[in-house]
Symmetry: C2
Subunit: 298 residues, 2 copies
């Protein structure tokens, strides 16, 4: 089954009715599955996670964005998290049987539709960026440049939107794009020594000579009385889970420290788990469609 | 998603029309997915593999059995494989989110329906057996006791069917039951020495002091120029793939032989693959519903 994930961020984290309305709009599209929603009152921001087949995911996002534009007034919005608009950032993520190219197309088609039909200025970011300077989200919108600043600058050629008018309404602007799925992965060590943990975490990070698509930090976890290496794997196809796990093990060995266990936080694409079995069992020619449940989905 | 597999064997392996008709009856039930069908002309026998949710799987099997009873005449059937009836053996197998108990109930309910509505004598076997002596398929039907012999003996109290009449018609009798899923798993060794392969295969087998739910043989595979340990894992929940793999590796080590690769033949339940990742990554608390695709199926 072809599956795309979408994780839109909306600038409302306090009024449950408004968030319910937005989620209902997204869910009104048949075949869409809302997996999660998180409201953060301090940030005054909600994050919705949903999955759908490629032909549905953009339609569902459009419905959510339209409802958010109707119910959220950015001129009255305050919160700690930087934001551009009612529907702030909308990334599309390939999960299963879908290429990044398809996600780029979905996001750009949505950007154009939002610009033309809802008159909302749209900036394309990530893999979907049309301008290189708009590739990194932080280079577009940050603590020092958000809704209020963009409202003043949107007439500048530098801030001409990729789609939609050079004009800010109450819905503000949206940032639409695509990115790789992210796997939140922790390894717990049989030690309470945080200094050692920090050295291990450092050895894993790309900029310190570690693995390209790993972001890592070490924490002391009180409830476990253990040090945890907490990682974000930003491209599990290129830097798979097993490689990160084995490198933690390898680095821990020099201090005589063993691994207690590891954990995937939240959800993970099937391929990321299957690839670990493929590696350890040397199951090199195994195809995901040999899995019975996958056949059922087809 | 709750998923049950059913693998009915029909006593027709030469006439494609008849097999097409049987498969069409099975597929006529909504939500049923036929994964495979194999016709064997020598055995004059077909094996159909399908999956469905628990409330559908028995209905689909019933439709297939009804069509087989209509189109196959056992008085005219010849073939190498032992057989009791038009629909010969019908096992139900728990695949996902389903207990063996549920499969036993499905199979017994079907047995009763077949007996009452189609007037076919039914013997329950495997985990579904109502009599202990009918637990093993080979103790019911074998080379020396099949359709012809049962036709003569069905009046004996010993052969009183579990459901249906003590009377054989042109559809013969059916053997219905439930069993664990079977994983066909091979490990290829970097050696051409079949004697060593045989010793490794022996070390794996339950009766020779190996693993309880492993059946194993060693073959020389010409195309690969390698010895292969070919296994059937008859209960992967109790004897998981990783344990069989690691034991092959361990036994091979004493001869200085390494593993080239391993392979799953055909289809496999997701849980069997996930469990290997859980073991090697020490991902002890990982739940299958953390897999995005599984959420989509729910």
């Amino acid at each position: 089954m072809q599956l795309v994930e979408c994780v839109p961020n909306f600038s409302e984290g306090r009024n449950r009715d408004i968030v319910d309305n937005i989620v209902a709009s997204i869910q009104s599209v048949k075949g869409v599955k809302v997996l999660d929603r998180e409201m953060d009152p301090d940030h005054n921001r909600s994050v919705v996670t949903f999955i759908a087949e490629p032909d549905k995911v953009g339609i569902a996002a459009f419905e959510g964005i339209r409802t958010a534009a109707r119910l959220i007034d950015m001129t009255k919005h305050h919160g700690e998290h930087p934001r551009f608009g009612a529907s702030d950032v909308i990334p599309f993520i390939p999960i299963s049987d879908v290429t990044m190219k398809e996600c780029i197309e979905i996001s750009r088609k949505l950007g154009q539709k939002i610009g033309e039909e809802l008159n909302i200025p749209v900036y394309m970011y990530g893999n979907s960026a049309l301008l290189d300077v708009r590739r990194n989200l932080e280079d577009i919108r940050n603590k020092n440049f958000q809704y209020e600043e963009l409202s003043k600058s949107i007439g500048d050629p530098k801030w001409k939107p990729d789609f939609g008018p050079s004009l800010m309404g109450t819905a503000g602007a949206s940032i639409i794009g695509s990115r790789e799925p992210l796997v939140a992965y922790n390894v717990n060590l049989n030690t309470t020594n945080l200094d050692i943990g920090k050295r291990i975490a450092k050895g894993l990070r790309a900029k310190d000579g570690g693995l390209t698509f790993v972001k890592s930090l070490a924490f002391f976890i009180k409830e476990k009385n253990m040090v945890q290496i907490s990682m974000n794997l930003t491209n599990f196809s290129k830097t798979p889970i097993y490689r990160a796990f084995e490198l933690v093990k390898l680095e821990a060995q020099r201090y005589g420290i063993t691994i207690s266990d590891s954990e995937v936080v939240g959800l993970v694409p099937m391929e990321a788990i299957v690839e670990a079995s493929r590696y350890y069992l040397q199951l090199n020619s195994f195809k995901t469609d040999q899995i019975l449940e996958v056949r059922m989905m087809e």
